[in-house]
Amino acid sequence: MQGEKIIPRKTLATVYMTVGAILAVFGLLLKFAFFTKKMYDLPWLLFGIGLIVIGYGILQIFSIERLGNEIIFSKKTAKAFLANYAIILALMVLVVIIMFIEPRFMQGQVLLDIMTQSSTRLIIALGICFTLLIAGTDLSAGRMVGLAAVISTSMMQTATYANRFYPGLPQIPVFIPILIAVFVCLLFGVLNGFLVAQFDMHPFIATLAVQVIVYGACSLYFDLPPNNSQPIGGVRSDFVYLGQHLILNRFSILIPIAVIFTIVIWFVLNKTVFGKNVYAIGGNREAAVVSGVNVYATIMGIFILAAGLYGIGGVLEAARTAGATNNYGNGYELDAIAACVVGGVSLNGGIGKIGGIVSGVLIFTVIQYGLQFINVSPMWQQIIKGIIIAVAVAIDMSKYKRK
């Protein structure tokens, strides 16, 4: 082909490592030679980015066997690269603009805040991505978050709190209400999976039905006397710890929790038979059936696993805010779906990577946080958010358009 250039993967890896090293050294130089107060934590951020780029280069060397040694540079691959990373590039531009407008954005604390705020959303998005990968969806996610939040906090109030959900309840260990909350969510996940697998119902409608049922059930529980639909407060500090504790007085405990779940889900999706079956069903359901994939069991597994993640997300959300009402989690499923889709998960099923989902979630948090930082009104934030969803998906679709 014209204008094509082939280089070995090792060369590319070297380029990555060199660029990374330059960035890291530049960061250190800024910090120790040219530091001014206006830079805030910029040097450290550059240093960190440099390390990540170096790491990526090293990863390239290790995956030569898996991905093949040849890398082709041409107009076509350049276009594909742009289509793949357009949204990330746009995000970088946005971040740089925000940094210029408001240099305080260059603080490490900002990065930590963004990661903290992304944590629970990420866990929910990780659950929903399974249902998207089989060309389905899960509208019950948000309400399950609310259900788990209400159930867990209702059993986690301090003995001295005036308006207790269970006035006579003794001091029970923290894990019990968490297990109960997640277990109840799992039951609803079973219902989701059963409706979809048994009746071949479209997940959209099956999970819409379950969404309504979950909200109703949650509201009934929330309305039980003596609580009578009052917001649940007075949550025990050992429970709140799960959402508010700061490691070394800086890192929210939510960050490592989210990282652990991300790794686990990455493992499930990429390294287990179950994960491969999810991709197979999403990629070509008929071929999966012919190949002997147990579609019924896989669909059940997907919805149960997803519900478990919503439950955990709900518990953490309750812990983070030290309270709950039956309206918790309302609309979270749509945010999670949007984040997945912006992160490259195809609604037609079969396509989607954990890395994409993480960046999708981060993108939304960065936008929200960043725009707040430079005082863009919440109304404009909504419009910008909508535009990003539309543009991201339009770019994504253009990748798959047949000519």
Binding site: R66, L67, G68, E70, K271, T272, V273, F274, K276, Y279, A280, G283, N284, E286, A287, A288, V289, V290, S291, G292, V293, N294, G350, I351
Partner: protein
Amino acid sequence: MGEYVLEMNNITKVFPGVKALDNVSLKVKPGSVHALMGENGAGKSTLMKCLFGIYQEDGGEIILDGKQENILTSKQALDLGVSMIHQELHPIRFRPVMENIWLGRFPMKGIAVDKKTMIRKTKELFKEIDLDINPEVLAGTLSPSNLQLVEIAKAVSYNSKIIIMDEPTSSLTENETDHLFKIIRQLQDKGCAIIYISHKMEEILKIADEVTIMRDGQGVGTWPSSELTTDLIINRMVGRDMTNRFPPKNYTPGSEVVLKVSDVCSPLPKSFQHISFDLHRGEILGIGGLVGAQRTELVEALFGLRGIASGEVEKDGEHFKVKSVNDAKKHGLALLTEERRQSGVFGILSVLDNTIIASQKQYAQNGVLQNSKRLKAAKEANTQLNVKTPSMATLMQNLSGGNQQKVLIARWLLTNPDILILDEPTRGIDVGAKYEIYTIMLDLINQGKSIIMISSEMPELLGMSDRIMVMCEGKVSGVLDSKEADQVSIMRLAAKFVK
């Protein structure tokens, strides 16, 4: 206007890996019925799809009424006076018959659809061609033959100069076929030309004025139907040389029966019925027949993808019942499906994932896959079959048809089957890759495996099979030893029960 209403000159159409049409010409006189004949895959439908704007020809010209046209869409074809009745009907089942007919050109009254006019126009149309169907019933409630007639009415309603009919009688009874012929005569009287695709010889000889025969994507020639007989048509459809298209065979099939199928019936009355056959160890059993002979349905039922109402299947002398694909796999069966794209390939997944999907439990411990084992197995299988792929991570959709097919064979070999069922194993792949697949098949036979091969390509059936079972209309119409069989005898059996 010249002598012809339609001239298609030197049409060429290339699909990835195959030349579907190679310099085909077709000339149709106004007011005539022009039959287009050829084996499955000869390129008839492809040629018509070029005319109807579904495909774009890569070479050649289409001249309508003496004017060269570049037909890009079906809408444009309709506007130019070409309409088409497709082989497979796609009615909008939950809308009334009349809406199906007038879709895209509803009679309007201001901004609203004029229902009254639509009913009236539909009634007039039905009266014209003597159809007794209520315009307001849902299309989905009609029988297949009535749907076919509605489809014909729709084609008539465009007032076309040319109507393409692709197997219009496949779901019609004899009486309905006569009815269709009456309609065709009426249309002819109005000066409308019909391009008529069918496998049914008697029908063609009865209705057609001229017959164009195609073979392997090329035109064989055009003759007035008065000069043709059934035997002449068959000879011209199949006549070709067969030297060196197949690797030499150097084995003798065993006599041990590995699969015994006795009196197997489908729960659907129109599908396969009372099928009995034996498959011997180390044998290639070919299954021949026309499209619609229910061959695919039969093997899918044996593989657990469809139900079996009655009858018995024995494997290695033991009774066995398949309820699911996993049962079939456990009993050492493997199925390469007919529609590679639809039910074989995971286009958006890697070659690696595609290769191991049917056998991945072998490489897993407690559900966790062991990457090195998986990669090793996939690499070995793909190297053994000579799959050409840049890497194991390459997406399946970037491979050529022949290589995809080899990956699918590798997928099934990893399940370690004794019996491979190959449904049209070389459909849509080029000659070189075909030869490779034939070689693979013979290797497998030499390893003591047995193969059932469905094929609509006569030379392939004759060249590869040890015995050939021919099916027609869901029944076995005969079993031939491939040494004694020839294309004519197979064609006769394939059309045995076709009226």
